[in-house]
């Protein structure tokens, strides 16, 4: 809370260093820090993987995390998790790690900036048609916009855009409100109460990371899965027709 004054609602406004048109603000700096931490940590851990009974505790941690993500993705999408694990898992970890690190004094989570969350939401916005076209082909993907009737086309398009906006603003609003509430409470009751709100912020951060990943997975699954279901229904109907 030392870096951001109460008047600044985004870490974009905290500028450490600038040279001409280029400026280094807190969002970019802490995003780089988190990226370096995650890449370095996973490189250090995966350097010596063992298939033995004895494994290092860090490898155990990563296995638990990756296995949990795979199970969640399998439950939500009812498909094989491997094609989605890289994208959705990266989103989850990239939001989770800075949200947890935000208890460190002086660290401003980059997810409290609308630029970061908008970037992540645009990644989801681009990933949905990519996965949809990969699994159903271009005509099959475009047909889902006309799903109930042709008149629903504008609403489907607007829904696609508005859910991207909602993804970005939801994560930004939650993380920003966490930091802002702690900052306001520091001015009112500075003794113990901000610590409680910080702990609550930890919980919110983990839940928001989970929800962002789950929603991304749900959107991708809805673009890839629909045809398989209709195909199954067709088969069932044909079978019923044969029987009767």
């Amino acid at each position: 809370m030392d870096l951001m004054s109460i008047k600044q609602i985004s870490p974009d406004q905290v500028i450490f260093w600038h040279w001409g048109p280029i400026s280094l603000n807190a969002t970019i700096l802490f995003t780089w820090a988190v990226m370096a931490l995650m890449v370095l940590g996973s490189w250090l851990i995966t350097r010596r993987l063992s298939t033995d009974v004895h494994l290092s505790r860090w490898q155990n941690l990563l296995e638990v995390v990756v296995n949990g993500m795979r199970n969640e993705i399998r439950d939500i999408s009812r498909q094989k998790p491997d094609p989605y694990l890289y994208f959705v898992g990266t989103l989850f970890l990239f939001i989770l790690v800075p949200n947890i690190l935000s208890v460190i004094p002086g660290f401003i989570t980059p997810t409290a900036s609308l630029s970061t969350t908008a970037g992540l939401a645009i990644c989801v916005f681009a990933a949905v048609p990519i996965y949809g076209i990969m699994s159903r082909g271009l005509p099959g993907y475009l047909r889902q916009y006309l799903e109930p009737t042709v008149f629903m086309l504008p609403f489907n398009v607007i829904g696609e855009l508005s859910r991207t906006l909602a993804l970005a603003v939801r994560l930004f609003g939650n993380m920003m409100s966490g930091t802002k509430i702690v900052a306001i409470l520091l001015a009112i009751t500075p003794l113990v109460f901000p610590v409680v709100m910080h702990a609550l912020g930890l919980l919110t951060g983990v839940i928001q990371a989970y929800i962002f990943a789950v929603l991304a997975m749900v959107y991708i699954a809805s673009a890839t899965r629909a045809q398989q279901q209709t195909r199954r229904e067709h088969k069932n109907n044909e079978r019923k027709g044969e029987n009767s």
Binding site: K7, Q8, I9, R170, G173, M176, I207, Y210, I211
Partner: protein
């Protein structure tokens, strides 16, 4: 009344109204969904995992409307464009 105090007063009152009224709907919705989820959990404890996950996702979707109201009120309080415009005009 000059425009600075008018804009300041309107911003503060509107910020309070925004978050106050904007929190009513999501609070009702969240309470209703949690109550339904609890009764579903009591009826089907085996499905606890799926119900809880759906509940959390649904709560986040409902809560996001309150978050929008909160973001608007924060912008009105801390990053008000009209306020900045008037202050920069008065200063320059």
């Amino acid at each position: 009344m000059d425009s600075i105090s008018l804009i300041g007063m309107a911003s503060v009152i509107t910020a309070g109204l925004t978050i106050g009224i904007g929190a009513i709907g999501p609070a009702l919705g969240e309470g209703r969904s949690v109550a339904q989820a609890l009764s579903a959990l009591a009826q089907q404890p085996d499905e606890a995992n799926r119900i809880t996950r759906t509940l959390f996702v649904g709560l986040a979707m409902i809560e996001s409307t309150a978050i929008y109201a909160f973001v608007v009120s924060m912008i009105l309080l801390f990053a008000n464009p009209f306020w900045d415009y008037v202050v920069s005009n008065a200063g320059g």
